[in-house]
């Protein structure tokens, strides 16, 4: 396979463009059609076959100009001091020979070959810059050049000194070029290398440990996750919705066809979309997870019939109106800052909050509702009021508890998880995106019958 193209596709992938094998084949044929002579044709061809959406087109533009400008790095703008220097030394190093003869093409080739040998494409981070520059110098044979310069100085005489000077300045020039080359390569192959790690890594990383700056990426991943879930659970072919034969209707219609049941009618099955009540602890320990969980749930509004959400810390308040009145991201931001929500952020009180819920909002406990509680059950040693949870559990279809702590920690210290456990239909650890995904999938699947 075409090496250059392969490298380019690697660079694109690392920058976050998703490219399939089939698309690689297309690009290969496209490059064969255009050749590398016409830069614009090549660019349009590759753009059409590799970048398939606006954001990808933008990334493509940047990558293309970076990648294919590398070829010109040692081009005509590389300044040779003198056109031709008279050879003074015997048995110069190859690099000195190139400099003395002013062989631009030779230098370009030497640089490229050195880059290949130094395996410059494997560069991954800024810390390796020095290392790769050293390797390149070594491969180029900079030592030989330095030795020649020293020898020239030893020989002495005006000519030799002039030549040494010229060689020195060309060497500095070259070093500058090498630095640029390494930096470009770094931008190309490593700038967003983390993107490669992202999906797998972020999905399994503890959400509470993730950085604020990863947020944008998490949102992207969530978007894709949501799309996936939607596709899977909203796509119900008509056949699947078809229930039993509607005998009465079919019979009535058959009169038109002389009593033959030619045109059949079918009853349609009712689709049971889940109704969800979320009760979230918003104290610091779980706030990140709550945020992403709500983000996923509310993004799935097409496949979920109704969500009511409550948050609690010292007391419990309903926040569903927030999501009805504001766009999703604004609502989440408001929830995070706590603006306009009458919530007391003191000691977390699970027992008290469950009592609040029982007293004020028990109307949302129906036989169709799934109640999901998100929290670590760390009650600061106050009364757990398990009877309130029992009340909730008895009146809903299902009660799911998602705990960001691992099960081995449940019940340790001020955690009341063990006491609440008997009233939960399901209790799961939930600290990563992968966990969240599984929970949501479970919710939708159970309702998919």
């Amino acid at each position: 396979m075409d090496r250059t193209l392969q490298n380019f596709i690697t660079a694109l992938r690392r920058s976050g463009v998703r490219i399939s094998v089939a698309e690689t084949m297309d690009a290969l044929r496209a490059a064969e059609l255009s050749g590398y002579g016409d830069r614009w044709m090549l660019k349009d061809f590759l753009s059409a076959s590799l970048a398939k959406s606006m954001p990808e087109k933008e990334i493509f533009e940047v990558c293309f100009s970076r990648f294919f400008s590398l070829d010109y790095i040692t081009g005509e703008d590389f300044l040779f001091e003198n056109e031709n220097l008279p050879p003074i030394l015997q048995g110069e190093a190859p690099l000195t020979q190139i400099f003395i003869s002013g062989d631009v093409g030779g230098l370009a080739m030497a640089l490229r070959a050195a880059g290949e040998r130094a395996d410059i494409r494997s560069i991954q981070s800024w810390t390796q810059k020095g290392l790769f520059m050293q390797r390149l110098f070594q491969e180029l044979g900079l030592e030989g050049l330095n030795r020649d310069i020293r020898r020239l100085a030893e020989v002495g005489g005006q000519d030799a000194l002039n030549q040494a000077k010229a060689l020195e300045s060309m060497r500095d020039n070259l070093m500058e070029r090498v630095r640029t080359l390494v930096e470009r390569q770094l931008e190309l192959y490593a700038a967003r290398r983390s993107y490669e790690l992202s999906e797998g890594y972020i999905k399994n990383a503890r959400l509470s440990a993730l950085d604020e700056r990863d947020l944008a990426r998490i949102h992207k991943i969530i978007q894709r996750m949501v799309k996936h879930l939607k596709d899977r659970y909203s796509r119900r072919p008509r056949a699947a919705r078809r229930g039993n034969l509607d005998f009465r209707k079919t019979f009535r219609k058959s009169i038109t066809y002389g009593g033959l049941p030619f045109d059949t009618h079918w009853k349609s099955k009712k689709i049971d979309r889940p109704e969800i009540v979320v009760i979230c602890d918003v104290s610091r320990s779980v706030s990140n997870i709550v945020r992403f969980f709500l983000l996923i749930l509310y993004s799935l509004n097409e496949v979920i019939s109704r969500i009511r959400s409550f948050v609690f810390c010292t007391n419990l308040v309903e926040v569903s109106p927030l999501f009805e009145m504001h766009p999703l991201h604004e609502a989440l931001a408001m929830l995070r800052s706590g603006a306009g929500i009458p919530i007391l952020l003191g000691r977390t009180d699970y027992g008290g909050s469950f009592l609040d819920f029982k007293d004020q909002y028990s109307d949302c406990l129906t036989k169709r509702a799934t109640v999901i509680i998100l929290g670590d059950a760390r009650n600061n040693y106050s009364e757990p009021h398990t009877e309130a949870l029992r009340f909730i559990s008895e009146r809903c279809k299902r009660l799911i508890w998602l705990n960001p702590e691992t099960p081995s920690l449940w019940g340790s210290g001020d955690s009341e998880m063990k006491k609440y456990l008997p009233y939960c239909n399901i209790a799961r650890e939930c600290s990563t995106l992968r966990h969240l995904e599984r929970v949501v999938e479970y919710l939708l699947r159970v309702h998919d019958r």
Binding site: R18, S20, A22, E23, D26, R29, A30, L33, W40, M41, D44, F45, S47, A48, S49, A51, K52, S53, M54, K57, K227, D231, S234, R235, P237
Partner: protein, 314 residues
């Protein structure tokens, strides 16, 4: 597609051919068309409304000299509207008409089993191509000399339909249970257009080449106007294109499209305008601005916009 091989000899040939049928293409468009022809791949065209996405397909059909078959997508579009349908009425009518014939076919048979056995020899008759009503997709596959298939506004269709399109786009064949698989006699040239009302699936994108058409630059738009509106002066073209480009920078709901630029140019030619003047612009604003709010916003800045257009054009 094989017949028009010479028409796709080089990119320049494609571009000239498009120009001959009245479509001024950027190099990028010509490149993508050329590539799509040689890779035999569908082209997914995206871009703002009115930049000539549909027009491109029409132009391609015109210069290739093949019929354009158009499938307009909408919510709820399904196989029976897009691919094929049995002619139920005709089937029923024929069974009624042929009742006597049926009697004679099973004549002489005394028991039911034998009658049915005899009927079985004929049972494919009513599900033969004669009773098949081809819809756009099937029609496109059946064209002997190829065709241009335009799947317009594919983003308006449902996810299910998108998935269904995949089969046709990758293999250019469809299977009809009663008849069998129908393969394309010659592969149609497929265009899909989208206005991004809905994010299209990755799978669909992967199977297509992607082309993004944005609003043309002034030079190109001038060329378009000059080709499409014969008899317009170069000066007026410069002025009105400059004006439109300024309007596109304003904060309005619906940006004027290329086709609306052409409409406006035609209007001005009919009104015998030699040069833009404020009153005439004010009266003809509604040829390229379709929302009252947009017209109001533009009218407020009419003076500066016109002045600027006049200055820029000289």
């Amino acid at each position: 597609m094989s017949t028009s091989n010479t028409k796709f000899a080089t990119v320049e040939v494609v571009r000239k051919a498009l120009k001959d049928v009245g479509y001024i293409a950027t190099t990028q468009i010509a490149h993508t068309l050329y590539l799509a022809y040689h890779l035999e791949k569908p082209v997914l065209v995206e871009g703002p409304a009115g930049v000539g996405k549909t027009e491109l397909a029409k132009a391609a059909a015109a210069f290739m000299g093949v019929p354009l078959i158009r499938l307009q997508c909408y919510e709820g579009l399904d196989e029976s509207k897009a691919l094929y349908e049995w002619k139920y009425g005709k089937q029923l009518l024929y069974t009624q008409l042929l009742k006597d014939k049926l009697d004679s076919v099973i004549e002489g048979e005394t028991n039911l089993a034998e009658s049915i056995e005899k009927l079985h020899q004929y049972d494919d008759i009513f599900f033969s191509p004669q009773f098949l009503e081809p819809r756009p997709l099937l029609k496109a596959l059946q064209q002997k000399d190829g065709a241009v298939l335009l799947v317009d506004e594919v983003d308006k269709s449902d996810d299910e339909f998108e998935a269904f399109l995949l089969e046709i786009l990758s293999d250019f064949q469809v299977s009809i249970p009663e008849i069998g698989t129908i393969e394309a006699t010659s592969k149609p040239f497929v265009f899909l257009t989208s206005n991004s009302t809905r994010e299209l699936g990755e799978a669909l994108r992967r199977r297509c080449l992607h082309l993004y058409i944005s609003f043309p630059e002034q030079g190109l738009e001038r060329e378009i106007v000059m080709t499409r509106v014969p008899g317009i002066s170069e000066r007026l073209t410069r002025q009105l294109v400059s004006f439109i480009h300024q309007v596109r920078k304003l904060d309005i709901k619906k940006l004027p499209s290329v086709s609306e630029t052409i409409d406006w140019a035609k209007t001005l030619v009919i009104l015998h305008a030699e040069t833009l003047d404020k009153e005439m612009v004010r009266e003809t604003l509604n040829t390229f601005l379709k929302a009252q709010e947009d017209i109001r916003v533009t009218e407020e800045k009419l003076y500066t916009l016109t002045e600027h257009a006049l200055r820029e054009a000289t």
